[in-house]
């Protein structure tokens, strides 16, 4: 059972039928907890190793209330706690303390079993929806059970790694529902991001930094006349003055995040930029999930491919990860390379050869994933530093507009929701 910070978003609303109000599928207030986490982690990377405290008190209070009611308000109880869930020992200790406090507040003194009026066996359990606390209550000759569902907190991030070149993963955004995120772009950039654009399958949304969280400022829908292809892909490109373009299969949107969010979309087969800006080579995208292989800027056509990157600026020799599972480089093609997936992006750092390629691995969308930095040098391409892991497949990997980082979108297999990360490289 995975932990989740954000409560499940459903299409269910409670309304009086006399005044039916359409359900807001994405309430901006529902986003706040995830945004708080996202922005805190973006602005304060040093906090990444800390988990977010969960308030167990409400569940403990409800548990105490039920125990008191079912056991006839006993003055003294014995309490044993058994952990049958994936909670770690620190959580169990915290829960024990919180439950004992609430039981005491409810007038139940905790004593040894031979001195108690009622005996409570609390099992910390879990089911498909989350944690479940089950208290078996033995009071005289009678037994009863109290069951309290508990909402949970996000899993702590993975521990970092260190090496000469270190690839960093910084959490940017968690989609509040299962809608696939295609790309995100940070406005303001550097250490002072002030806004975030999120491209998903149905809209572009603008969030602005509000103290410790992202707050939804405005969304613009993407109207379409026919269904998107499965494994939908899309890309955001930032221009000057907070202008942006969104590329989708058969569609292009142009907009501005300068004063609110404005955007216009139209059917178009314009080529998509492959690099971090609009000046570099572009490639035409087909109606499914890959580039057709038709290029601009005089780059040799390698046939259909999923992604491409160049290891040095101004080079004509691009890496293409082709749909035939071949790696195409310059005029050569190699059979599929073990360990490589379908996404590649190049970013600039001040380490090694200055530019590194980031690649995802091979597998499918039921598996966790990782991104590996590699360096291209003369006759060798070697991994640089340790890979960073993701709790699900990386579905998009695009160079960010600053050229110094990349945006990785991953579907978290634990939560079923899409998350965006910024990837950058440092060195000792």
């Amino acid at each position: 059972m995975m932990r989740s910070l954000t409560p499940a978003t459903t299409c269910q609303g409670t309304i009086p039928l006399s005044g039916i109000v359409p359900k807001t599928h994405r309430s901006k207030w529902a986003l706040v907890p995830a945004l708080a986490c996202a922005l805190a982690l973006l602005l304060l990377p040093q906090l990444r190793a800390q988990s977010i405290p969960t308030n167990w008190t409400e569940a403990a209070r409800e548990l105490a209330r039920q125990i008191s009611e079912k056991a006839g308000s006993p003055s003294s109880i014995s309490l044993t706690i058994k952990n049958s869930s994936s909670l770690v020992n620190a959580d169990v200790a915290e829960i024990r303390h919180t439950v004992e406090t609430q039981l005491s507040s409810s007038g139940m003194r905790i004593v040894k079993p031979d001195q108690s009026v009622a005996d409570i066996q609390l099992t910390l359990s879990q089911n498909v929806q989350g944690w479940l606390w089950v208290a078996e209550i033995h009071h005289g000759a009678t037994s009863d059970a109290a069951l309290v569902p508990v909402f949970t907190r996000q899993a702590p991030p993975l521990p970092g790694v260190s090496s000469t070149i270190t690839l960093h993963k910084t959490f940017l955004w968690a989609q509040p529902d299962a809608t696939p995120v295609l790309d995100v772009a940070v406005l303001g950039g550097g250490s002072n991001p002030n806004a975030l654009l999120v491209l998903d399958s149905s809209m572009v949304s603008l969030y602005h930094a509000q103290q410790s969280h992202w707050e939804l400022e405005q969304s613009q829908p993407i109207a379409r006349s026919k269904p998107w292809p499965r494994d939908l892909r899309g890309r955001l490109m930032l221009g000057h003055d907070r202008k942006f373009e969104a590329y989708l299969p058969g569609m292009k949107c142009s907009g501005s995040a300068d004063s609110g969010l404005t955007m216009e979309c139209h059917n178009a087969d314009d080529p998509w930029p492959l690099g971090n800006n609009n000046d570099g080579p572009k490639a035409f995208f087909g109606a499914r999930n890959f580039f057709t292989g038709v290029m601009t800027s005089g780059i040799a056509s390698p046939g259909p491919f999923f992604s491409a990157a160049v290891a040095q600026p101004d080079s004509k020799e691009w890496f293409f990860l082709q749909t035939s599972n071949q790696l195409h480089f310059g005029a050569s093609a190699s059979p599929g390379i073990n360990g490589w997936g379908s996404n590649v992006a190049a970013i600039k750092s001040n380490c090694g050869r200055s530019w590194q390629l980031l690649t995802t691995g091979a597998g499918d969308y039921t598996q966790s994933d990782s991104v590996q930095a590699t360096e291209v040098e003369a006759s060798a391409i070697t991994p640089a530093g340790a890979p960073v892991d993701f709790p699900g497949p990386v579905t998009a990997l695009w160079p960010a507009s600053d050229g110094n980082s990349a945006i990785a979108i991953s579907k978290n297999l634990g939560t079923g929701k899409y998350e965006a990360f910024s990837l950058s490289i440092t060195c000792r």
Binding site: A8, T9, T10, C11, Q12, G13, L17, I20, V21, K23, S84, T123, S125, N127, V128, Q129, G130, L132, V134, A145, L147, A178, K226, P227, R230, L232, R288, F290, P304, S324, N325, F329, A331, S332, S334, I337, N338, G339, G341, T360, G361, A362, G363, D364, Y365, T366, Q367, D369, S370, Q372, S379, A380, I381, T382, P383, A386, D389, V394, T395, G416
Partner: protein, 475 residues
């Protein structure tokens, strides 16, 4: 020079690579599936008798039809043919707003009237449904329906148009050829509202024995086959690719309320106490199941451990000494289910340990069952919503009593309803078992099966994992 670059890269990544990761899906190809059940109808509203047929029906229906809502992996309702829904504060009225511009595979527009027509195929005593305009459905009930979205997410409530061989859905695949009981051929719905599937077509061979399915998988003639849960472990140990679900069926003893010989609760408790569920799980289920005294599995309910499952022969023998015991009890099981046969025979052995003679007898339970003193039943949950799953189990075990097992939404209420069902030992759960599938190497994105049917629209075929002249339309 460049070739050496690639080789060096490959070698170095092999050394440091994580060993697991993701490749973007490919379009094209034909997915070949084999199933045991000789399914005679594609209509999701038809009631199938055996567990194998129910499984086949649920999975096939998910390919052709859409429900109004779906449950995600946490059991939360998500939009399908219905985009939004809302309810009155007392949960007695619900309004569902439907997607627009959807068509059935035969070209008929989907609308509220068609949805009502489809939903009314299943008589449900708990609610009434009517269309409001073209795109709105109203459900009403005399009692609260807090779980209505989860109930409607079951594939038996999937929306179908027409009947018999002319039945049509709105789902990701449409029928191109249908030979009842033998073969079904489907092609991708290019206009599917939730995006066209990756594979171009699916061929499903029906009525294939588990042995024949395994042979076909080994010979490269099938991509997806059924594997008995008791065979899953050995198949995996032999190097086959096996995917196992969380437990989604329960084996239970059901005592016949019409039989005088089993009216004494102490007799039923004696048999329950004599059951060695752990041995059944370890030996017969090869540890792939969960021995349990509960109907719902722990992963769905979270409270299954509250129902005792311990082997207590001493207590059983003590009770045995207090009661009159009939000469021989007859235990029926589904004759077409080899796993049920093995478990029934083991139950009879356990009963004899408590000095109760029991004879296990294979029967066609769908056609003639019900005359024995007790039955071994195998029931699918068909939902990962606890209240809906329990309601399904109750409907199978006590079809005459529609109120049994119906619970409101909270886990405490579901627990109370399950306790009431098991009180008196009329029903004695034995173990919950998973569903297992064998996959060929070229099958990618195969999600762990769960109630609601296959997610076959997300499956793609890796043409590089082996020669396959049948795969065309590469991306």
């Amino acid at each position: 020079m460049k070739r050496s670059v690639f080789l060096l890269l490959a070698a170095s990544l092999l050394l440091v690579g994580p060993g697991h990761a993701a490749t973007r899906p490919h379009y094209g190809g034909t997915l070949r599936i084999e199933l045991r059940a000789p399914l005679a109808s594609l209509d999701p509203a038809e009631t199938e008798a055996s567990s194998a047929a129910q499984s086949a029906q649920e999975h096939i229906a998910a390919l052709i039809f859409d429900p109004l809502v779906r449950l995600d992996e946490k059991g939360a309702a998500q939009p399908a043919l219905a985009l939004t829904w809302q309810h009155a504060p007392d949960f007695r009225s619900w309004q569902f707003t439907l997607r627009s511009y959807i068509k059935f595979h035969d070209g008929t527009p989907f609308n509220a009237a068609k949805a009502v027509e489809s939903l009314l195929k299943i008589a449900n005593p708990h609610w009434r449904v009517r269309a409001e305009g073209n795109d709105s459905l109203m459900f009403e009930s005399d009692s609260p329906l807090p779980n209505l979205p989860a109930e409607l997410a079951q594939m038996r409530y999937a929306i179908a148009h027409g009947s018999g061989n002319a039945i049509s859905g709105t789902g990701p695949f449409q029928v191109t050829s249908w030979q009842p009981g033998k073969q079904l051929v489907l092609k991708a719905n290019d206009d599917y509202w939730d995006a066209r599937p990756y594979v171009d077509s699916i061929e499903i061979a029906l009525g294939r024995s588990l042995h024949d399915q395994m042979v076909d998988l080994e010979l490269g003639r099938a991509d997806v086959i059924e594997v008995g849960p008791d065979q899953a472990r050995s198949a995996a140990q032999e190097g086959k690719r096996v995917v196992t679900s969380s437990p989604n069926e329960v084996f239970a003893l059901l005592f016949n309320p019409q039989k005088a010989m089993v009216q004494d609760e102490r007799l039923r408790e004696t048999i329950a106490g004599a059951l060695d569920r752990v041995a059944i799980n370890n030996v017969l289920l090869q540890k792939e199941g969960e021995p349990s005294g509960a109907l719902l599995p722990q992963w769905i309910s979270g409270y299954a451990f509250l129902f005792p499952a311990a082997h207590n022969l001493e207590h059983a023998l003590q009770l045995r000494g207090e009661i009159m015991v009939p000469a021989t009890l007859v235990l029926e099981y589904d004759f077409s289910d080899p796993l049920a046969k093995a478990i029934a025979e083991r139950v009879a052995v356990n009963a004899r340990d408590a000095r109760i003679n029991m004879q296990a007898l294979g029967e066609n339970l769908g056609a003639r069952g019900g005359s024995a003193d007790l039955q071994l039943v195998r029931v699918r949950f068909a939902s990962l919503d606890a209240a809906t799953a329990l309601s399904n189990v109750a409907a199978t075990l006590s079809p005459a009593d529609a109120s049994q097992g119906r619970a409101a939404g909270t886990v405490a209420e579901v627990y109370r309803a399950e306790s009431a069902m098991l009180n008196g030992f009329q029903i004695v759960p034995i173990a919950q078992v998973p569903e297992a599938w064998g996959l060929s190497g070229r099958v990618k994105n195969w999600m762990q099966p769960r109630p609601g049917g296959w997610s076959a629209a997300d499956v793609w075929l890796d043409v590089s994992s082996g020669p396959d002249s049948r795969v065309e339309g590469r991306p």
